[in-house]
Symmetry: C3
Amino acid sequence: MHHSLSQRVRQLGFELPVPSQPIANYVNHVSSQNLLFISGQIPLHGDQPAYIGRLGETLSEEEGARAAELAALGLLAQLSDALNDDLSRLVRIVRLGVFIAASADFQRQGAVANGASNLLVDALGEKGRHARTAVGVASLPGGVAVEIDAIFELQP
Amino acid sequence: MHHSLSQRVRQLGFELPVPSQPIANYVNHVSSQNLLFISGQIPLHGDQPAYIGRLGETLSEEEGARAAELAALGLLAQLSDALNDDLSRLVRIVRLGVFIAASADFQRQGAVANGASNLLVDALGEKGRHARTAVGVASLPGGVAVEIDAIFELQP
Amino acid sequence: MHHSLSQRVRQLGFELPVPSQPIANYVNHVSSQNLLFISGQIPLHGDQPAYIGRLGETLSEEEGARAAELAALGLLAQLSDALNDDLSRLVRIVRLGVFIAASADFQRQGAVANGASNLLVDALGEKGRHARTAVGVASLPGGVAVEIDAIFELQP
């Protein structure tokens, strides 16, 4: 059992990023009863948007999956922030919403979203399995390729 | 009262499809407390994506509504799977998220989404009424015209 | 403390609109346990869609923010309808989903969404802060620029 999320992520060869801070009248996570709602996270290198571009045009499916992986690391950073890095209160991931900047003829939204799903299951095991919706959108903040939001279930 | 969802769907002239199985690290439905979250479902004929195309371009509004109807059958198949086909635990549908592959000038997302809403109310009566968000997106998995996710409320 | 939402909105210089009525088999708000789910709201002037157009093409960022503000007023109208205009049962806004009709190269979804976030915090104070996801989509019902749905937490 890994009770520190930052350690677990490091074992996978990643570093948990500093949780991004919203610069407006919203927050990155809200708890309501047993559910934790996390705002849409984009791929970041440091504090800069990463993987700028569109699937089906300027980015490959593999690059899209890496973008989704980075966005999922952002979700884990917010989760860690909400739980003070203590995973013992996590029941499971409930749902991911995966938004992919894509051309009209791109059909592999699932393969891109797998970059996030695989990282989350690698990090959290069975607790990491989730319901998921993946769609191709016109454009995303900062021009990034992927944005992902999430609902987690926590113990009371 | 119809306690079997598959029978009820058959009375409407449809057949409840075999619930689709995800081929990656996600699942098609997750229960959290009293809420059941269902992953985005696409229209399928057998196990093949159906209604390939875009509203406002290659598909008519009526075809879009039929695509939404098929996606809603997928939601009911997942609901049936979660409830072992026993409707008595269903409190109601809470919410649908309806994503429609559409051109920039398509304005009838509501009419397309009605294909799903009408089927669900036909199948479930008052329990089938739901909050709903319908938007036009750039592209969907497999090139389909409609993808729909849902939240249901179940009895404990 | 303001217990009437309509009075509070008037103090901000707005008028709470008549809550829009769906014309099909869905409803504008559904309560499930402590959560209130509100259907996607679009900007309306009276009962007519307002702010027709796309960000990055025919509408400016400032116009987009005003469209988001109007859609947020629609959310408050639905909230008021659900609570009989009595704010004392409101715990907080949990989450906004902000869908913005945008060109492929539009990158300022956050600035547009701030039109909604700022109004909601102005109206509700700390209870108005929320998790948020903002994405650019291909097209929205009636050709409007912004559609926003929401989850609120209520007291039992």
